[in-house]
């Protein structure tokens, strides 16, 4: 049976060249980078090379890169680290309703420890209005954190404009760019970014390697205290193979980025155009200004997990933001925030393409997807519409 992986936003396979670059650091160059003999020197060298190529991918200086174990850690580090470093200046943080859980839940944690958080709304396409950011800034505001691109609905936010406003008002600006770095060009200078989180597995690097860009001169309190690793800002013996892999993946992403976009975007467009021919299937997120590999929909009258299971039985692997497909059994808050009614959000399905996706894959998908929707609608009591349905809250015991 065919196996078509359309969940590249969840993670990616490690590029063969990346794996080759990692292997020596499991074996002959296994040393601790702090050791002064040759094992340590080799490992140290690998980390500094990786820092250079990682910095180069986003137009930063090597010393502005702090390696972490994930994008989530980088988000936690940025938000807590800036909040604690600046709490004497003020205790107000601005985020939005389209943030990843690792930003949202960190902000909620800070709220419990005495910080005030503003959660900016998003429009029907998932866009944060820069004017709303400007209005929300007070004398107490120390940090603005707005995602660069949404993994759920693909929308790319007006980060450069928000960064410009932050700079003008003297507020530190962080962006979670986990879904975008490696998929679209990201330049921290032209986007006016002070801090930025990203992760290697989003661009064919290994899991367990992420980074936080911290602009030179921005003071941050560590999340992990201990030794002098990462300039004393993130203690712990470095994950040398993963960092080496991240460096290689960054180098490849920089070299191939435009080629990757030019390859994947027409395939993604073909998928979207075909899916939108199906009755009562709607695109979620911005129609034009979205990640080039990202297609997300809601299909009415059916449920996302059921779609994913039937798709996977046909060899197609994808994601959903429906309540049943989430561990928390709650529909995606992002879908609710863009105004999708809760019962319609149950029909969420997300397809993300990658380097390995072929034209044949998309043709097969385009044949299969409408069949699966029809099949589930044949079973659904709502096949003729949502009669008798109110958008009440869910009171079922969970």
């Amino acid at each position: 049976m065919k196996k078509i992986y359309l969940d590249h936003v969840a993670t990616n396979p490690v590029h063969p060249e990346v794996l080759d670059a990692m292997m020596p650091y499991f074996k002959e160059h296994f040393g601790n980078p702090l050791s002064i003999y040759e094992h340590g020197m080799k490992a140290r060298e690998a980390i500094e090379n990786a820092r250079s190529s990682t910095a180069s991918l986003i137009n930063a200086k090597p010393k502005e890169i702090i390696f972490t174990a994930s994008g989530a850690e980088a988000n936690n580090f940025a938000i807590k680290g800036i909040a604690y470093a600046n709490q004497n200046r003020g205790k107000h943080i601005i985020i939005s309703k389209i943030e990843h859980h690792s930003v949202l839940n960190t902000a909620r944690f800070l709220e419990k420890s005495g910080f005030a958080v503003t959660y900016l709304p998003i429009d029907k396409d998932g866009v944060v209005n820069p004017a709303d950011v400007e209005k929300a800034i007070t004398k107490e505001t120390i940090l603005i954190s707005i995602i660069h691109a949404s993994p759920e609905i693909g929308t790319i936010e007006p980060v450069a404009e928000i960064g410009r406003i932050a700079k003008q008002k003297g507020v530190i600006f962080h962006t979670d760019a986990v879904a975008s770095v490696g998929n679209v060009p990201v330049d921290v200078q032209s986007l006016n970014i002070d801090l930025m989180s990203f992760a290697a597995h989003q661009f064919y690097g290994p899991k367990g390697a992420g980074a936080l860009y911290v602009k030179e001169g921005v003071r941050i309190v560590p999340l992990v205290y201990g030794g002098i690793q990462e300039g004393g800002r993130r203690a712990g013996t470095e994950n040398v193979p993963a960092i080496a892999g991240m460096g290689k993946a960054a180098e490849l992403a920089k070299r191939d980025l435009q080629k990757r976009i030019d390859y994947v975007k027409p395939l993604r467009d073909k998928l979207i155009n075909n899916a939108l021919k199906i009755d009562k299937v709607m695109l979620t997120g911005h129609p034009g200004n979205r990640l080039p590999n990202h297609a997300s929909f809601v299909a009415e009258y059916i449920e996302g997990e059921a779609m994913l299971l039937l798709l996977s039985a046909k060899g197609i692997f994808a994601a959903s933001g429906s309540a049943c497909s989430s561990k928390a059994l709650k529909a995606s808050p992002v879908l609710i925030s863009i105004g999708v009614p809760t019962h319609v959000a149950q029909g969420s399905v997300v397809f993300t393409l990658g380097e390995g996706t072929t034209e044949d894959d998309i043709n097969y998908f385009n044949e299969t997807f409408p069949q699966i929707i029809s099949r589930l609608r044949e079973i659904s009591p709502y096949a003729k519409g949502w009669e008798g349905t109110e958008d009440s809250s869910c009171t079922a015991q969970k």
């Binding site: 059921a306 049943c324 869910c394 009171t395 079922a396 015991q397 969970k398």
Partner: protein, 123 residues
Amino acid sequence: MYSPKVMDHFTNPRNVGEMPDADGIGTEGNPVCGDVMKIFIKVNDNKVVDAKFQTFGCGAAIAVSSMVTEMVKGMTLEEAMKITKGSLAEALDGLPPQKMHCSNLGADALHKAIEDYRNKQGK
């Protein structure tokens, strides 16, 4: 995540569709929560002689609906009232814990269909 039996009933659901001449109809659930089951029954001589379903929901919800309509056929109404979430889950070789409450609505929808039949008989 799901047992082979759940996957079988989900991918090849039995007794799908509306029953225009149903003697009893029961609906349970809420689309806002993600699962709604509608069960139709045909009753003859105090026995369920036919059952059909329509379901909006996840794999577990569809499998449970298929299973309950299979199980109930041939049962007396009293026997049918004894079908529970537990007996349905057992017949499907188990359900993941998080699916037990919100997706396992088959027994409740069936009991509502029987209640509906009895109410109609009473009139």
